[in-house]
Amino acid sequence: MTLTDLPMRTSATVEAVEDRVPNDAISRRLRELGFVDGEQVQVMAAGPLGAEPLLVQIGYTRFALRREEAARVRVRSNGASPA
């Protein structure tokens, strides 16, 4: 699943960031910001309209990602227990 499918405040692990287009600059930037294999990630909040953007905790940092950006991040859930 991707970050957009992840329930709020549920800890997950990043698997990869997928390119939408060849040499996807947004995906590269996401990887540079720490969205790489094995990192712990959580969706902390969502914007008031249409649950956009998402507030995502990665490493020690919080980023606001639009759903289109968050959909590039493939994650696996860390099991049922919320963090």
Binding site: A25, R31, E32, L33, G47, P53, Y60, T61, A64, E69
Partner: protein, 632 residues
């Protein structure tokens, strides 16, 4: 290296929100020079530092960057300058990489990337105090050993907080470059692997040298839970916006009135002291009025920027952008456009200057383009005059309850028309843009911090200087040109009409009637539009001049004018002029600010052109419809 040699060139580089600029302010104090990088509107800040050893440094504060693969113009400049590739910028002798000690997972990766440039480098572990408070333990020696470059702790918001950094700089041997190249990968295909390597190395360093009790600060979690809440968060945002709007609108007014009164008094005194003649007129009506017209904007600019800087430094501004992004994106803007647009209700000039907090150049330009559509306070006197003269003061009801004042409703409609036009224009701009590429939000929400007064004061001083030096010059020059058009040639001694009728401006006004007849403007309105270019509210006193009224001040002018135009103009003309002022392209101060902020006359021409076209079109439709309905 001796002390008399040329100063060493240091470049401060680091992620956004690393406290880099605060550290720069601490190192260089008020010895700063703010300009732009050649050919672009990215701010270039340089300052001087004299170490206790006597060694001199020229410190350059590079734009914040996450990576050396640039995603914005700011980042491209940061990369090119620190590599020494930027035209006209000498290569730095050493880099000071500023990292946030509480956010090392992100920032250390950039340190590793920068190390590969191979320049002498020091890592400044900034916000060391905040890290300690949160119980984060960093083994500086281990970090230094593993990175192969000096690592020092700094606290940018405490005086003396950069002492260790300056000492380390003095000790630094510039011949020595970092010796531990990390990646052996080069060329195509290596990029992904190298990105993974940097992350793996970052993780290794963190495991080795950093222990962290919690990934985030408790206070951030608590505040975000409330301030980003879909209901309470919006409520809090509305309260903040209301406060800013009130401050810019209300608190600035007494000071602005004071400046107006001061320049008027000075003008009168000089006018009475000097002999009558063109020199007297140039000084009083040209230069003093022009300088007064420039500094009258300062109170609003300073109040607005005090708020914006405090919000930016405290970390709230990106949160406001988070809450508003979806709404603004629908219209082709970004969440960060909101505050500049809000402040444009007071005046478009501080509003346009405030677009500097929008990093994306495309969003920034779109915001600059629509900012003049927000109904600024200078349009109010014109609205008040016309509404007072033409709209009956009657209650209109809804469901049998007469609660709304018709005059108030018209004023509200004028404000709403401005906002809707702005949304429509930015939406059309978004549709027409050739560049359809996806623009990422990818906005970091940094830890909440208490802003430091020194950083706020330096920021305010810079804004004031930028306005006075760069915008003020253009406004002053145009005001003097306008004075010339309004004053020459002088009226003949046997003149019957008002003097303005004989001037160039008067002739231009008469000639304009040909163009403006279809929108219902008579020659008096056309002439008043010309001095109205200096500031829109001047249109009221100019109308009084054209109608040969002698009025002591603007209020008296409006009072005397009201019955005159109520008799002389048709309702269609009045409505048409009201609609004209929704768009009102003719504000030279706004155009001067657009010129300054976009560094392009083309953008000035585009914005003046489209505003004029919209104003003309809307007034034309209003006038013709009103005439057809029998209001002509």
């Amino acid at each position: 290296m001796n002390a008399a040699a040329a100063p060493l060139r240091l470049a401060l580089i680091g992620n956004p929100n690393s406290g880099k600029t605060a550290l720069f302010n601490l190192l260089t104090g008020s010895r700063q020079k703010v300009a732009n990088y050649a050919g672009v509107t990215v701010e270039r800040k340089e300052g001087r530092l004299v170490a206790p050893s006597g060694r001199q440094y020229a410190v350059l504060d590079l734009p914040g960057a996450y990576s050396l693969h640039p995603a914005s113009l700011d980042e491209a400049i940061a990369r090119d300058v620190c590599r020494g590739f930027y035209p006209g910028e000498p290569a730095p002798d050493a880099l000071v990489c500023v990292v946030d000690a509480t956010n090392l997972r992100l920032h250390l990766r950039f340190v590793l990337e920068l190390r590969e440039i191979g320049k002498p480098m020091i890592v400044a572990l900034n916000m060391a105090d905040a890290a300690r408070r949160r119980g984060i333990a960093i083994d500086v020696d281990a970090l230094q050993r593993e990175l192969g470059v000096p690592v020092v702790e700094t606290v940018a918001v405490r005086s003396g907080g950069a002492k260790a950094l300056v000492e380390a700089l003095d000790r630094m041997d510039l011949a020595a470059a970092p010796t531990k190249p990390l990646s052996e990968h080069h060329g195509a295909g290596a990029e992904a692997a190298s990105a993974q390597d940097l992350h793996a190395e970052t993780r290794r360093l963190l495991a080795l040298a950093v222990t962290m009790p919690r990934r985030t600060a408790r206070i951030d979690d608590a505040l975000d839970r409330w301030l980003l809440h879909p209901v309470f968060g919006l409520f809090a945002l509305a309260a903040v916006m209301f406060l800013i709007f009130q401050a810019v609108y209300a608190w600035a007014t007494p000071v602005m009135d004071g400046i107006d009164a001061g320049t008027a008094a000075l003008g009168e005194w000089i006018g009475a002291t000097l002999p009558e003649g063109p020199l007297n007129s140039l000084l009083v009506d040209g230069i003093i009025a022009g300088v007064g017209g420039v500094i009258v904007f300062l109170p609003q600019i300073l109040i607005l920027f005090a708020f914006i800087l405090a919000l930016e430094e405290s970390g709230y501004l990106p949160r406001a952008a988070f809450l508003l992004d979806r709404m603004m994106a629908a219209a082709g803007l970004s969440g960060r456009s909101f505050i500049p647009l809000l402040s444009s209700f007071a005046c478009a000039i501080p509003g346009i200057m405030a677009t500097r907090s929008i990093q994306d150049p495309r969003d920034r330009l779109a915001t600059i383009m629509v900012a003049p559509l927000m109904t600024c306070s200078a349009r109010l006197p014109v609205y008040a005059l016309l509404i007072g003269a033409f709209i009956p003061q009657q209650k209109v009801g809804l469901l049998g309850i007469n609660v709304f004042n018709l005059q108030g409703l018209v004023l509200f409609a004028l404000y709403a028309a401005g906002i809707l036009s702005a949304l429509a224009v930015s939406w059309v701009m978004k549709k027409w843009r050739r560049d359809k590429s996806e623009h990422a939000l990818l906005l970091e929400l940094p830890s909440y911090r208490l802003p430091h007064p020194r950083d706020l004061l330096i920021g305010l001083y810079e804004r004031a200087m930028i306005f006075l030096k760069r915008v003020g010059g253009i406004i002053l020059a145009l005001t003097i040109l306008l004075w010339f058009l309004l004053s020459f040639p002088a009226a003949p001694p046997d003149a019957v009409g008002p003097a303005i009728d004989y001037s160039f401006a008067g002739r231009i006004g008469h000639a304009m009637t040909a163009v403006f007849a279809p929108v219902g403007f008579n020659w008096q309105i056309c002439i008043a539009l010309i001095p109205g270019m200096a500031a829109r509210e001047v249109a009221v006193s100019s109308l009084a001049t054209v109608y040969a009224l002698s009025a002591a001040d603007d209020d008296a002018a409006a009072q005397a004018l009201s019955p005159l135009i109520a008799d002389g103009w048709s309702l269609a003309t009045a409505l048409s002029l009201l609609v004209w002022f929704i768009y009102a392209p003719q504000c030279i101060s706004t155009l001067a600010t657009i010129r300054r902020e976009t560094n392009s006359w083309k953008q000035v021409a585009i914005s003046a052109g489209y505003l004029f076209a919209l104003a003309y079109l809307a007034s034309f439709v209003t006038y013709q419809v009103a005439v057809a309905l029998g209001a002509g």
